[in-house]
């Protein structure tokens, strides 16, 4: 029975709209409307907690204030550094693990399942239990480090030098399996005849990796990094539970700062401007990245 017969009297276009209508409405209500509203608010001095005070139009004042605030640039640097190191480590370790698991050996499936476990946990829960792992007195992490190299008592979360690494380590532990899975999918899509042809041509294992494996898996890896990049740009829960953005502001990512400005200080106009700037930044980077990724795919 064709769709046309089932919905008698309705054109195909109308039936199409009937199906996507609810989704479009939902999208408009929970994504587009808040976005437009936030853009509107970003040009006002609105404070959501100051009941009865009408928002006044302030032009670009909030944007200028955000862009000129030294503290904001510090948070952006913290975010950029967090993203750089997590993406780099997740790319290298994820690809390495995928190469390992792409080989056939006993216990392969069990090992894959075990490696994937961390990404199934809630980020908030991960944040909480890593605070215990990092505890200088009873933490397993410190014990393991001291087992291999005696550093004495050190506080991963309380030190401004170590805390940024503490969040990088946890994010890498949690999300490398994701990169690994995507790379593994890429590796399994490489046809065997390419390697057979390379063997015939006496290509070394290294040459096979450089000229066959890497180009084949690269679009997959880049896609995984795009997802992780977007996620880490808005990283919030795990870091809040782990360090609360501290010590001081050493791990206060842009998203944590935005939440504090918007929902603790209630500077709605100012934080809307900050949110719009973050949105434009990630949107811009995302677009450039996708274009680069498509070019790599086309090669």
């Amino acid at each position: 029975m064709s769709v046309k017969k089932k919905f008698k009297g309705l054109s195909d276009k109308a039936v199409g709209w009937l199906f996507i209508g609810p989704t479009v409405l939902l999208l408009l209500a929970i994504n587009i409307y808040p976005l437009v509203y936030a853009i509107k608010m970003s040009f006002t001095n609105f404070y959501a907690n100051k009941i009865g005070r009408e928002p006044q139009f302030v032009g670009l004042k909030n944007y200028i204030k955000v862009l000129n605030k030294e503290a904001i640039w510090e948070k952006m640097q913290v975010t950029a550094s967090f993203m750089f190191w997590t993406l780099l480590l997740q790319a290298i370790i994820g690809l390495g693990l995928a190469l390992l698991l792409n080989r056939k050996f006993k216990g392969n499936e069990l090992l894959t399942t075990l490696i994937v476990l961390p990404m199934m946990l809630s980020p908030a829960v991960v944040g909480v239990f890593w605070t215990y792992l990092y505890n200088p007195q009873v933490g397993l992490f410190n014990y393991v480090v001291n087992f291999f190299y005696d550093l004495g008592s050190f506080d991963m979360i309380g030190s401004s030098t170590l805390a940024p690494w503490a969040i990088v380590i946890v994010d890498t532990w949690m999300w490398t399996p994701f990169t690994m899975l995507i790379c593994l999918a890429g590796l399994r899509s490489v046809p065997n005849y390419l390697y057979e042809a390379a063997e015939v041509d006496r290509a070394s294992k290294w040459q096979q990796f450089i000229y066959i494996t890497l180009p084949s898996v690269l679009p997959f890896l880049l896609l995984a990094l795009l997802f992780r990049g977007i996620e880490n740009f808005k990283m919030f829960d795990m870091v809040v539970e782990l360090t609360s953005g501290g010590p001081g502001s050493a791990t206060e990512l842009a998203s944590i700062n935005l939440k504090r400005e918007a929902f603790e200080k209630w500077k709605t106009g100012y934080s809307s401007a900050f949110a719009v700037i973050l949105f434009v930044t990630i949107f811009g980077f995302g677009n450039v990245y996708v274009k680069v990724m498509n070019k790599i795919k086309e090669r």
Partner: protein
């Protein structure tokens, strides 16, 4: 059919039952209040439902509820700093007419608590809460260790005075460093568990205990909101430097984001000789002394002046409640002297003069005298409607200096003033 009838009937009974909801933080006194309230329900037939929110989320949860004009709570035991916002933004019901009608006199309550928990503008006769839970930041110490002859003599030999309740912050530091890293009964011990928490208000509440004792004022008493030279005075700078020294030399390892529960844990697990915490926890600490642990308690030590950080809360009726009459009935009951006495007996901290001035009060518990002493010297953080905006920069700057070791104490205080000026300007105060 019968089941359906019974369920419909029970639903109808429940929906008709008189009930109110009270919101507070999830901590020991909340359990005591729940116990006490059973008598209110027995007397009036009004059921009281409780929603207790863990401290780290307490302000967020409750203030969001108020800002959204939520009807979840009929009664709210809100932090002292919220009173300004509660009054100015119309979240709390003004209680003056009700107090007059019911003969509830604010002169029956400790003046410091009325000033701190009930009035806005401060010191005026506009009441938005009934003082519910008196509290201040204080100290507990391991009296059993302090009483050991070998430790006493070693300390006296080293410092020239007796190991005991510290008379000032310098002595507190001496004692903390004395215990830092010391092995007692085969375990390594540390000096003091102090507030260092970054996320909500922890480190601010801790560092102000030192700053008040050094004589810090937030503003020029003759020129409100003029903070330069007051909040960043040399004494205030010295106090903040001292607090960092205390953290660096006396805190147990990993105590870099600690507040109430973490301090309690460090103390109860036998890691530290001292803990800084609120009086609210002392009934629990005292009751749970075991395995030879004996706790002593004392008010915040003085340095240049005697002062302590104020805690505690008043109980307010939420303006958006549909059951204000029932909520007011609860307040009327709670204000009764006999109920206030039971409140203290159960582990709550009454602010009623009949309880506090009773001759038996100072000896009623080991921490009662300290509580009385503290409530006479308390000072509070800004109670402005914008207090959260004022709290956050202080949390960040102080944590950055004390825990992170970034910059100087003067720079941290200057930075805070800079942010506060911006907040007051946006609020039309400057």
């Amino acid at each position: 059919m019968i089941l359906l009838f019974v369920s419909l009937f029970s639903f109808s009974v429940n929906s008709n039952a008189k009930s109110i909801t009270l919101g507070w933080a999830a901590w020991d006194p909340a359990n005591a209040l729940q116990e006490l309230t059973k008598e209110f329900t027995a007397e009036t037939g009004i059921e009281v439902n409780f929603e207790f929110v863990p401290w780290p989320n307490f302000a967020d949860r409750m203030l969001n509820e108020l800002n959204n004009k939520g009807k979840t709570f009929d009664l709210l035991i809100g932090d002292s700093q919220w009173i300004g916002a509660g009054a100015v933004y119309g979240h709390y019901v003004k209680l003056n007419d009700f107090f007059d009608k019911e003969g509830i006199s604010m002169s029956d309550f400790s003046p410091a608590t009325v000033y701190a928990y009930s009035t806005w503008p401060k010191g005026s006769e506009n009441y938005y809460a009934l003082p519910a839970m008196g509290d201040a930041l204080a100290w507990a110490y391991r009296k059993d260790w302090f009483d050991r002859p070998e430790l006493k003599s070693e300390f006296k030999k080293k410092h020239g005075y007796d190991l005991g309740v510290p008379a000032n912050w310098n002595q507190l530091y001496d004692m903390c460093t004395f215990f830092q890293g010391r092995e007692i009964d085969g375990q390594k011990r540390y000096g003091a568990a102090i507030n260092t928490e970054r996320g909500s208000e922890g480190i601010t509440m801790g560092v102000t205990a030192a700053m008040y004792a050094w004589g810090m004022e937030y503003e020029n008493p003759n020129k409100p909101y003029d903070m330069e030279g007051y909040f960043n005075s040399p004494q205030a700078v010295e106090a903040v430097e001292f607090y960092r020294k205390l953290y660096e030399d006396c805190a147990p390892p990993g105590h870099s984001d600690a507040y109430m529960v973490a301090n309690l844990d460090a103390y109860k697990s036998g890691q530290v000789a001292f803990q800084m915490n609120w009086y609210a926890f002392w009934p629990g600490v005292s009751k749970e002394d075991s395995d030879g642990r004996v706790s002593g308690f004392f008010a915040n030590p003085k340095q240049n002046v005697a002062a302590a950080t104020l805690g505690g809360q008043g109980i307010s009726v939420v303006k958006y409640s549909d059951k204000q009459d029932l909520a007011l009935e609860y307040i009327k009951w709670f204000a009764r002297p006999d109920v206030q006495q039971k409140w203290w007996d159960l582990g709550g901290y009454s602010c009623h003069n009949d309880v506090l001035n009773s001759p038996s009060f100072p000896t009623s518990t080991v921490y009662a005298q300290g509580f009385l002493d503290s409530m006479g010297i308390v000072k509070d953080f800004w109670q402005e409607p914008t207090f959260v905006e004022l709290m956050l920069p202080m949390q960040e700057a102080i944590h950055d200096y004390v825990v992170n070791g970034k910059g100087t104490a003067k720079e941290a205080l200057d930075k805070i003033i800079e942010e506060w000026v911006e907040v007051f300007e946006a609020d039309g105060k400057l």
